[in-house]
Symmetry: C2
Subunit: 392 residues, 2 copies
C-alpha cells in the first residue's frame, strides 16, 4: 500500500545499478493530482547533503509533482558537482515524465521534483546509471507501485516499512527507510507520506511538523544525526474531501508513529526496543532532555542488552541534564518494578523480568506534570559489527 | 611511586573483603605534614554519591590529613544511610590513625578525612568489613605504599595507574583508577595527587583546576559521566620548597595528562586510542564542542574499530554542533591524510594506514585560530560485552 494507498499517486521501485549488489535502489513517487500540495521537514544537521539543499528549495514553493529517491549513495559532502548531479536528476525526472506523456497537470518542471538520497557519504552518484534508472522507473509507474518503491529505498534495513491510515473517504499512507543513524533534533531518515485529502500546503506543513515533533524526532537509536534526513508529505486532493485539521493531523501522527516504531524495531544490531518514558517533569523540554540523555547512555544500553536492570546508570544519565529535579526525589521503574525510589534503592531488582524484546523505563522526576517518551535500542556487539565491518 | 613519591606521605592498599573476589579494595593515603593543604575537583553530575557530598565539604576547609578510598561499591544513590556510612568511615579513619599514635600534627579529625568510593551504584557498603579494613590499612601505612594503594582502587582497570614528575627539590605524584564511564564536563574518575612542595590550598586549587580542564576533562571514552568522580591534590610541604606557580602548575598538568592517557589506553574493551584534534576554531569552546561531538559519535567509533577512515561520519558529527564553520570549508585528516577537503572528497582514503592502536583525527574548521584535543576510544564488541555481562 505505502505511498500509493492514497488515490492520485503512482510509484515504482527498480534496480538502477547504483548498488553494486544489484538490489533495487531507485524509487519514484508521482502525484497525479488534481492538487500538488506538499510540505517537508529536513535534517537539522548543518552539514546537509546536496539533495536536502535542493529539496528544501523545491518545498518552498509548496508544490511537488514527483519525488525521486535513491539508495546506494548519499550524495553528501560531494561539493558543487554533487549539487549539479541532484539538479540533473530532477531535470531528468521531469523530462522523462513529460516524454512519457504523464504531463496532465501542465507538465513536470525540475523545480517541482524533490530528490532524496541515502547511502555512503562522500561518493558521487553514477549519473549514467541513475538517469537510465529514471526512465526505467517512469515506465513502471503504477497505482500499485508503493511496495516496490518502499523496497528500493532500503539500505541496511532488513524489512521495508510502510503504513496506512484510512479515514472516512480519505487516506494517509507512507514509506520509510532507516536502520541506523537515527537521532532526534530533526525529522529523521527518509520518509514519503501521501494523502488524497484536499488540503493546502500550509495545512500539510503544520500537521507534518506537529507529527514529526513527537514521533520521528523522539526516535533515537544511536544518537547519530544524518546529513540526508527528509520527511515529505504530498497531497493529491483526489479524494475530493477536506477533513478537519485535528482529524487529519492525528492521521498523519499515527502514520509517523507507526513508521517510527518500525524503524526502531529494525535498528541495526538491536536486540531490545527501549521505551524511555519521563513523567512528572517541570516542562516538556525537561522531559525530552532527560529522555534523550537516558536513551544515549552507552553503559545503560549495554546493561539492557545484558538484561541487567541497572537503574544506577539511569540516575547517572539524569544527573547530566539541566532539568529541574532533586536527586533524592527521583524514582525509576524498569518493566513495572520501581527499582529506585527517592533516589535510592527501591523494590527488589530481581523482580524485573527482562526476557522480552520491549523494555519500558519510567523516570519520575517528581518536579511537575509534563511527560515525554523517547524510543531507543540496546547497544550490542552486532551493532558494532554492522558499523565497523563495511563503510555505510 | 604513586602518591608516596612526594615526601610527607604514607599509603597502604589492602583487601578488606568489600570485593567478593578477595582482591585489594581499600586504600589509605596520609599526609604526615608539616603542611596539610589540599584542593579537590568533583563530578559535575547532579546525582552525586555520598562520598562526593562529604568530600566537597571537607575540601572547603582547605586541609586534608588523610584520604580513604574503596573499590567494590560506589555508595551512590544510597540515601541518608549511605551518607551516614561515609561519615562513619571518616570517623573510623581518624580514630584508627590517632589510636595508632599517628597524630603528630595535633591529631586527625573526621572533617579532614576525604572519602572516595567506586563500584556499583545503589548498594550499601559492608561497613563492618570496611572498618576492619581501615585498621588493617593503618597498620600497613608506609612511605613505600603508593603502588599498593594504586592497586587497591582498581575496578575494571586491567593495570594500576601512577605517575610522577620530579623537579628541582620537589615532586608531584599520583594515582588514578578508571576504565569506563570516562566523560568530560567534570574532573573524571578517582585520582589522588600529592606534592611535597610548600603551597597554600588556594594555589593548589588554581593549579588543579587549570590542569584538569585540559586533561581529565578532555578524556571521553564513552560519553558517560560518573556520580563519584573525584580528583584530589594534597601538599605536605615536606620538601620545604615553594616553586613558582607556573612551574608547579605545569608539573601538575603533566601528571594529570599522563594519568589521563593511561585511562584512555586502559578503557574497557577498546582496541584504538583516538586523538581528536580540532584546529582553526573561532573559539576554544567551539573546538571543545566539536571535539566532543566527534568523540561521542558511535558510528564513527565503530568505523575506527573497523579501520575504516569514514570521514563522512566526522562531518556528520561536526554538523550537529553550534560551532562557527561553513560546511564547504571543512577539512578532515585521518592519520595524516586529508581525506576531506573543503567539505568534499580529498586525498585518497586508501592511503590512510590504520593498522596501529593510535588514530589521529584532525578537524579543521577554517574559522579562526583556536584549538582543542579530545581523547576517546573506538567502540567494540568487547566494550559491549564488558558492560552487559555483569553489573558495574
Amino acid at each position: 500500500m505505502s505511498v500509493t494507498a492514497a488515490k492520485g499517486f503512482t510509484a515504482a521501485g527498480i534496480a538502477a545499478g547504483i548498488k553494486e549488489n544489484g538490489n533495487p535502489d531507485l524509487a519514484l513517487v508521482v502525484n497525479t493530482g488534481p492538487r500538488l500540495a506538499a510540505a517537508g521537514v529536513f535534517t537539522s544537521n548543518r552539514v546537509k547533503a546536496a539533495p536536502v539543499l535542493w529539496s528544501e528549495q523545491v518545498l518552498k514553493g509548496g508544490e511537488v509533482s514527483a519525488v525521486v529517491l535513491n539508495s546506494g549513495g548519499a550524495n553528501a559532502c560531494t561539493g558543487p558537482k554533487g549539487f549539479q548531479d541532484t539538479h540533473a536528476t530532477a531535470e531528468k525526472v521531469a523530462d522523462s515524465l513529460n516524454s512519457a506523456g504523464l504531463d496532465d497537470l501542465g507538465g513536470h518542471a525540475p523545480g517541482m521534483v524533490a530528490v532524496c538520497s541515502t547511502g555512503l557519504i562522500g561518493v558521487l552518484l553514477p549519473m549514467d546509471k541513475l538517469k537510465r534508472g529514471v526512465d526505467k522507473a517512469v515506465a513502471q509507474l503504477s497505482p500499485h507501485g508503493g511496495e516496490k518503491a518502499a523496497i528500493a529505498i532500503k539500505t541496511t534495513d532488513t524489512v521495508h516499512k510502510t503504513s496506512v491510515v484510512t479515514k472516512d473517504g480519505w487516506t494517509v499512507g507512507g514509506m520509510a527507510k532507516g536502520a541506523g543513524m537515527l537521532a532526534p533534533g530533526l525529522a529523521t531518515m527518509l520518509v514519503v507520506l501521501t494523502t488524497d485529502a484536499d488540503l493546502e500546503s500550509d495545512v500539510l506543513d503544520r500537521a507534518l511538523r506537529a507529527a514529526t515533533r513527537t514521533t520521528f524526532d523522539r526516535v533515537d537509536s544511536d544518537g547519530c544525526m544524518s546529513t540526508n534526513d527528509t520527511v515529505l508529505l504530498l497531497a493529491s486532493g483526489a479524494a475530493e474531501v477536506t477533513p478537519e485539521y485535528a482529524e487529519f493531523a492525528e492521521a498523519v501522527r499515527q502514520v509517523c508513529d507507526d513508521l517510527g516504531q518500525q524503524l526502531i524495531r529494525d535498528a541495526e544490531g538491536a536486540s531490545k526496543d527501549i521505551k524511555v518514558e519521563v513523567v512528572n517533569a517541570a516542562t516538556e523540554d525537561d522531559a525530552v532532555e532527560v529522555g534523550r540523555s537516558i536513551a544515549r547512555n552507552n553503559l545503560l544500553k549495554c546493561a539492557i542488552h545484558g538484561e541487567d536492570p541497572n537503574w544506577g546508570r539511569v540516575l547517572s544519565a539524569i544527573g547530566t541534564t539541566s532539568a529541574a529535579f532533586e536527586p533524592d526525589r527521583l524514582n525509576v521503574a524498569i518493566n513495572g518494578v520501581w527499582v529506585c525510589k527517592n533516589g535510592g534503592v527501591g523494590e527488589d531488582r530481581d523482580n524485573v523480568d527482562m526476557r522480552y524484546r520491549e523494555v519500558h523505563i519510567v523516570a519520575d522526576l517528581a518536579a511537575g506534570s509534563e511527560t515525554a517518551t523517547i524510543w531507543t535500542n540496546d547497544l550490542t556487539a552486532d551493532y558494532v559489527h554492522e558499523n565497523s565491518a563495511y563503510s555505510s
